[in-house]
Symmetry: C2
Subunit: 173 residues, 2 copies
Amino acid sequence: MEFRSLLRDRHSVRSFRPDDVEQEKVLRILQDAIRSPSAGNLQSWEFMLVRNADVKKRLAEAALDQDFIAEAPVVLVVCADTGKSGWKYGDRGKNFYCLLDVSMASMIILLSAAEEGLGACFVAAFDDREVSEILRLPEQVRPIGIIPIGYSGEMPEITSRMPLDKVLHIETW
Amino acid sequence: MEFRSLLRDRHSVRSFRPDDVEQEKVLRILQDAIRSPSAGNLQSWEFMLVRNADVKKRLAEAALDQDFIAEAPVVLVVCADTGKSGWKYGDRGKNFYCLLDVSMASMIILLSAAEEGLGACFVAAFDDREVSEILRLPEQVRPIGIIPIGYSGEMPEITSRMPLDKVLHIETW
């Protein structure tokens, strides 16, 4: 789809049909995601692909009982390997750059899912430690977002935005 | 342009022709940016639009002398209003959610600039305090990235990526 049509059409989807999501679609989405820029091209992202019903249920619980996560046929947990950015850039790499890398890749995932005719939603409200335990993440790998993906089971709800002039500052604040 | 062509074509541009960038292009890019999702739809982004040569020079110095920043006709400094996310979500809002919001909006800026036939680059290596002073940012507003934008003065250099299977984990780590 045209980039701007895709951008205007995309919206957060929190209800999914039970229909399965083809693995090749998921892989195309992830191949898109790794086109994201990253600090020093260190690509600090790590992707967990979850289809197991029990694991999805536990992730939903760890995400303050956002049950729609467990409803999605596919759940991606996007993580930052803080070590990748940290070895080169120290604390700024560990606590800042790698978060940006993974967030940017996640934005691509949301757009790419829409390109595939799928709905998705970025969830950042969860208990980090619980998610890490469920997925057995190594110490230096931090979960950044949970992205349930599936065929949308709801009518699109386009959320409103503050007008640009409320957040645009010319030259100085 | 088709989303995937745009994504494949986009690359970080660090050299700019002196040609001016039309203001309507910059505004279209920013209108795209605010289509980003954000935690609680709180839209914690704030955008500084800089064209002043002296200010751009000082931003380049604050960014470890990355002189190409001053070369670009337009420099966007993307910021997080940590107060917007913080009032609702406390520390997780202030130190985490708002960074994600602004990074996602920034990914859209990079794609949208490419859609406009412009080159851009996301720079996160800078002295936060210096940038805040230069732009007179309020205490609670944190600079997240400096994005110089202009017509590309260099041949595209597509950086390589690690293969997906190095960063993809099925079910658990």
